[in-house]
């Protein structure tokens, strides 16, 4: 009787364990499946201010409220964030940030703006890139293209290339001349 009770207890424990494992697995699965969000960007500018507005909707076209959107400008080695620390959509699914006026762009002032949804519990990560002429126009740095000691191999100073090449050429021509003399020596018959 005692043994039968113990067996029942073990069976109940086993069922509980299986149920827990099943619930846990369902929870993990539920966490992994996220919805897709869509972003629409609109740009506006007046005399002093340039503004980007992001409009987020879900798969059914319903505006997403309280979604963090991240705004960046692409720089040489990494992304430079702008806007507030957290830029969260309102009840209309919109968030606006002001674009800084002092960021250098290329020679035409072009900059690449990157907008992201990242690490949301509900929505997949999303990245959008768009080029705008909102940066400051910069002069192209042509130092690397000019012939100098610090330039790439192809842009070595001509005087250096000419001098070193001449020295190397003269020396090795003389070596070959010595080898020619040795060759002539070998051809002399007694």
């Amino acid at each position: 009787m005692k043994a039968e009770k113990k067996l029942n207890n073990n069976f109940i424990f086993f069922l509980c364990l299986c149920s827990c494992l099943f619930l846990q697995a369902s929870k993990i699965h539920a966490q992994e499946v996220k919805s897709k969000a869509e972003l629409t960007l609109s740009f506006s500018e007046d005399k002093d201010t340039k503004t980007i507005t992001a409009f987020a909707i879900d798969e059914e076209g319903v505006p997403i409220e309280e979604l963090d959107i991240y705004f960046y400008v692409k720089r040489t080695f990494s992304l430079l964030p702008f806007g507030d620390r957290f830029n969260t959509t309102d009840e209309n699914g919109e968030v606006s940030v002001v674009f800084p006026n002092d960021l250098p762009g290329d020679t035409a002032g072009k900059v690449t703006i990157v907008v992201k949804i990242m690490e949301s519990d509900i929505y997949d990560d999303l990245t959008m890139e768009i080029d705008k002429n909102w940066g400051l126009m910069t002069e192209a740095d042509k130092a690397d293209e000019e012939r100098s000691l610090w330039a790439a191999a192809a842009n070595a100073p001509l005087t250096l290339v000419f001098t070193t090449s001449t020295m190397i050429l003269v020396t090795w021509v003389i070596y070959w001349y010595i080898i020619v003399i040795l060759f002539k020596i070998s051809k002399i018959k007694p």
Partner: protein, 442 residues
């Protein structure tokens, strides 16, 4: 007891017998010496295998001391290789006839040293298989590229100089050494390029020898000046100096002369060449070494007086480290034991006799190697732009056993090359009169 094989050759004079006999008989001590060198080289190869296998982490080189003992060796080898130009150009063109018997030794040492310099610089590379990129993406603005070019140029001229001076003697070996193994006969026949002692051949060889003698000096100056520029163009205390080029060149000539005296003494003793390398040679080499040491002393004073007078910032720390810091014993040994005291002693004739000057030259050579260590290491430990919260291991440099094993192997390789060349070819020109002065026959 005379060696029967040595007697079996067809010598035509006592001079030929004296200068060629060591090439046909091998003593037990010679075999032991070669075996010893090979063991050291093999051990070095094992250490290098470990360096390739695990990377440069097996060395003590870190972010601060990124050039360690290998670069010290490299500078030392380049320095002593300059001795070839000292004899083949400076002494020869100035008609110092007394130095003619020593020219061959200097040329052999030059070839061995520059060959080892070429190898040790590759050993210093963490990824030696990328050496080809140096040539593929050659950037002529870089002093390292100038060094790569000039090392190959100097190695080539050193080989040419040795070969041109050897040519009549190789033919002599071909003709006189009849009782030798076939491979040796073939080798002498091949390298003697049909030399038949024709007056025209002598005349052409003399012309080639003159051209090389004129050419070797600027190349020799260039190789060590460019080596100094590797340091002078890097912004570190102790290297930021316009004095570095002549300082390196003068030090190289001094070290080279010291090495020649050491080699002369050992070769004379081992090959019993007392009639050909005389006390007068040692006396003259002593005087030459004094002169070269005085020039080097002058550049040393220039090198250290300015910074030690000003003691500015990191430069001052570097000077303190050398003068009274952890490198002080080595620094003062080098300056006093390897430079000042040898100069003072060699002023006296009694110290220019073979044994005393051999011992003095040993100190000069050891001092010369330690000097290269002092040029490379302490400077690197005092960067102008230190790293914040630097790892403790960056602040000190003590070579690991792998570095010492490779260093010893490189020295053994140099001695091995010299030993083999001396065994295969006459160490003193046998028909020097013919090649150096006027055409004739032997």
């Amino acid at each position: 007891m005379k060696n029967p094989i040595a007697k079996a050759q067809t010598y035509k004079s006592k001079k030929e017998e004296d200068l060629l006999k060591h090439m046909v008989s091998t003593s037990k001590s010679y075999k032991i010496w070669v075996a010893f060198l090979l063991i050291v080289i093999l051990f070095g190869i094992y250490a290098y295998y470990r360096q390739i296998r695990y990377g440069l982490i097996v060395t003590a080189m870190r972010d601060y001391t990124s050039w360690g003992i290998y670069i010290s060796n490299f500078v030392f080898y380049v320095a002593i290789s300059l001795v070839g130009s000292l004899f083949s150009c400076i002494l020869k063109l100035n008609k110092n006839k007394w130095a003619d018997p020593l020219a061959r030794i200097s040329e052999i040492i030059a070839v061995a040293a520059i060959a080892c310099a070429t190898v040790i610089i590759i050993v210093d590379m963490g990824r030696p298989e990328r050496l080809v990129y140096v040539f593929k993406y050659l950037r002529i603005q870089s002093p390292i590229i100038w060094d790569v070019i000039i090392i190959n140029t100097y190695l080539s001229i050193s080989l040419l100089l040795l070969y041109v001076s050897l040519l009549p003697d190789i033919a002599l070996c071909r003709d006189r050494l009849t009782e030798i193994p076939k491979w040796k006969k073939r080798m002498y026949r091949f390298w003697s390029i049909n030399w038949v002692n024709h007056p025209k051949q002598f005349s052409m060889l003399k012309k080639a020898s003159r051209i090389l003698a004129l050419l070797v000096l600027p190349i020799a100056f260039a190789i060590h000046t460019i080596t100094s520029w590797l340091f002078a163009t890097t912004w570190r205390p102790g290297w930021d100096s316009t004095n570095l080029g002549p300082y390196f060149v003068s030090g190289a000539f001094m070290a080279g002369a010291g090495v020649i005296i050491v080699a002369m003494y050992i070769i004379r003793k081992q090959l019993k060449l007392h009639d050909y390398i005389t006390n007068a040679h040692f006396d003259n080499m002593g005087k030459l070494l004094v002169l070269l040491s005085l020039v080097y002393l002058y550049f040393n004073i220039n090198e250290y007086l300015g910074p030690s007078f000003k003691m500015v910032g990191v430069e001052g720390e570097h000077i303190n480290e050398l003068f009274i810091g952890k490198y002080a014993p080595m620094y003062w040994f080098v300056q006093l034991g390897g430079l000042v005291i040898p100069i003072l002693l060699m002023f006296f004739k009694m110290f220019r006799k073979p044994l005393p000057i051999f011992i003095i030259s040993l100190f000069v050579v050891i001092g010369a190697w330690l000097k290269r260590y002092l040029i490379v290491i302490p400077s690197l430990q005092h960067p102008y732009l230190p790293i914040q919260d630097v790892d403790e291991s960056y602040l000190h440099y003590v070579p690991t056993w792998e570095e010492w094993a490779i260093t010893c192997a490189s020295f053994a390789s140099m001695l091995f090359i010299i030993t083999i060349l001396i065994k295969l070819f006459p160490v003193i020109p046998v028909n020097e009169k013919d090649t150096q002065t006027e055409p004739g026959t032997n």
